[in-house]
Amino acid sequence: MSAEADISITEQTDKPKKATHVTPPEPFMEKLIRMPVVLPLLTFVLILVVWEAGTRLFAVPSYILPAPSRIMGGFEVVSLSRWIEHVWSTLRVALMGFLLAIIISLPIAVGLAKSRFLSRSLYPLLVVIQSVPVVAVAPIIIVVLGTDDAPRVVITFMITFFPLVVSMTTGLMATPPELIELSRSLRAPVWREISQIRLPYATPYIFSGLKISITLSVIGAVVAEFVAAEKGIGYFIQFSTSMFKLPQAWAGLVVLLVMSLVLFQAVSLTQKILFPWSLPKERK
């Protein structure tokens, strides 16, 4: 796909259109509320306030539900460099598992999309593999592969790769049949049909798969850490919980949440910047 330099850069032609569109100036408050981040942010702050007030009012013990202020306190228990170590450990495993899933699911998806035989023989097998509860297999994988990154990456891969295979295959088969006929009428090699037609056409599908998989990859890394690790956010949460340091565990949860959101946004942004044409029209 990288050979198609011209697919990535597109002119933004909607600017002049906007300029000709004269709308009366909006009141400041209305403008603020229409901004996409403002409303969810307000809701979030409101929830925090209710949460804080509720836990104080009813004196909820912190091991049941710590107040947001206690959770903030949980951050300070651990030094910043320790946090960074934990985050990096989890992030590294999540990203490696995610990359491995992309690298492995691409050829599988091409095979499934191009060959009837493969889609009949391999696909049911993939469904079976997908149906195996990874959490249950994780201890076995750790025993087989040892305790360094490798088993954790494999566990992450197992959780992330199936949605990728499905979305890639669906995307590769979504190409209009006329374009495939055009390709055949030009007697082009099959790999060019894949790289110049099928893959770019699959881009929107691939990205919806990537968005699901990137959040799953964080889950995968955490599951692996639950089973065996001496570092990482998942390990930190489990360790804190076993010590009844709940605010600290909640702080770990917040870090995980932020990590997932940032990774998700990174994937979305990649699509927006490199493949703007692949977004649904109104969200461009």
Partner: protein
Amino acid sequence: MTQDAIRFSDAGQTFRTDSGPLTALSGVDLSIARHEFVAVLGPSGCGKSTLLRMTAGLIKPTEGTVSVFGLPVTEPRDDIGIVFQQATLLPWANVEDNVVFPARHKRGRVSQKDREHARAIIATCGLAGFEKRLPGELSGGMQQRVGIARALFLNPDILLMDEPFSALDALTRDAMGFELLRLWQASPKTVLFITHSIPEAVILADRVVVMSERPGRVIANLKVPLSRPRNESSLRSSEMQDFMGHLRGLLIKEKVA
């Protein structure tokens, strides 16, 4: 020059489907002279697109032969361009990149000469100034112009068109028809044009071929009694009205039978 551009000899096509064999075409005999414009009319599902695919070398006839310039078609040829019902452009590529796509796809690279050639074709197709636009920014008619420009890129001798204007509104459709005639007269080609519209077939073609219900055969092969150049009022004469009425009769009989 007396050699036929396209010739179907007793050509037929039977598909193997999950519910048994399906004969789409059977015993088709038809020849099309070089630079002739032939329109094909026929009920839905009678095998018109199949006829076109066999000519393009995308599928082999299961009976008889299809030859192009005297040679049986065994694989796609460079001298045949195809225009589909939907323009099916690459949505990520601008107009120029869509038109040079055959070069990029066939040879893997695009030369400066290819680009110049593409721009010239874009201009003849009435798209000058739109080279850098994305397909999504163009109207349906403009998109189909790009589709035609792409089919013309390799300078084909034969242009196969499968209901190219049927997705367009009536006015655009008429305009595109005359535009196509202009292109065809400026640079003569053999055209096999599939359509469901009798007036469109008559105003464009030298000859109209009517096909039967599936399995499709040629049931009428009529020269259009109309001189060129043609225009909007060409179809008003009673002679033309009678001719179109006759075609309608043939098609309706097919539908009822």
